[in-house]
Amino acid sequence: MDWMKIGSALLLGAMIIFLFPRAKMMLKHSPKAVSGDWQAVLLPLAAIIGFIILLVMSV
């Protein structure tokens, strides 16, 4: 195993350790979605997926 893989693994491991308490806290304290909220998120995300497919087809 080369040093790039070890370095990447160490970096990702550090990110996970750093992010874990924040994710736990955010999950506990995030406000709940109300009616129409998810639709408002899924619509632009679907547009982005379509746009990426278009980009992939163009190259």
């Binding site: 550090a14 994710a23 408002a40 990426i52 980009l55 190259v59």
Partner: protein, 222 residues
């Protein structure tokens, strides 16, 4: 008197929000230009893929250890430039690998344009709808955690399809983060333009890298 207060407060709040938004976009555009200049230098000096890892490690160190202590002072602006400069320089190492492909420059330009369209589109959407996307917070952070674990596993598994799946999910997650961060600025959840700039910069950077990876893998040029 009471009436004045109720009228003035939202106006002051809106002014403060606009100020944070303006400062964020100004600093973001300046750091993007600086980052691009550093990437150009890195390409010019033909830095290798190891540069990316070392630069990202340095930038993460600054984000975790230095930025929280300097975000409320003028020094924070310098730290943001150091972070984005390092990330830009690291990007050069990745760009050199793509430039070695016959259609490398086309891939890079397509990924750059695509990232710009995604960021501008999502920002315009969040700004015009003025919807509160704070409910996304928990899901985005947990999603990020899951994708980091998957990326860590894939270092050892080395499955190309998993790499593509991870890149695709990162683009979706970062798009969610753009909506979340922009909405936080609009609704007063984020009042520090330095932290807001770093958050948006990281989302744009990750979208660009992931899009480049997807385009590179699916363009048919090995």
């Amino acid at each position: 008197m009471y009436r004045n207060q109720t009228v003035v407060r939202p106006a002051e709040s809106a002014l403060a929000t606009n100020k944070v938004l303006r400062n964020t976009y100004t600093l973001l555009s300046m750091t993007m230009l600086f980052s691009a200049a550093m990437a150009a230098i890195s390409v010019f000096v033909e830095s290798g893929p190891g540069t990316y890892l070392i630069s990202v490690m340095g930038a993460m160190g600054l984000i975790w250890l230095v930025l929280p202590r300097t975000a409320n002072s003028g020094a924070g602006v310098g730290v943001v430039f150091a972070i984005t400069g390092l990330m830009g320089f690291g990007l050069g190492g990745v760009l050199n690998q793509y430039l070695a492909l016959s259609n490398g420059s086309q891939l890079i330009m397509t990924a750059m344009g695509g990232t710009g369209v995604i960021f501008l589109g999502l920002s315009a959407y969040a700004l015009t709808t003025r919807r509160d996307f704070s409910f996304l917070g928990g899901m985005l952070f947990v999603g990020m955690l899951v994708i980091l674990v998957a990326a860590l596993a894939n270092i050892f598994l080395d499955i190309p399809a998993m790499t593509l799946a991870i890149s695709s999910v990162i683009i979706i997650l970062m798009s969610g983060f753009i909506l979340y961060d922009t909405s936080r600025i609009i609704h007063g959840g984020e009042t520090n333009y330095i932290l807001a700039t770093v958050s948006l910069y990281l989302s744009i950077y990750n979208i660009f890298i992931s899009l480049l990876q997807i385009l590179g893998a699916l363009s048919g040029d090995d």
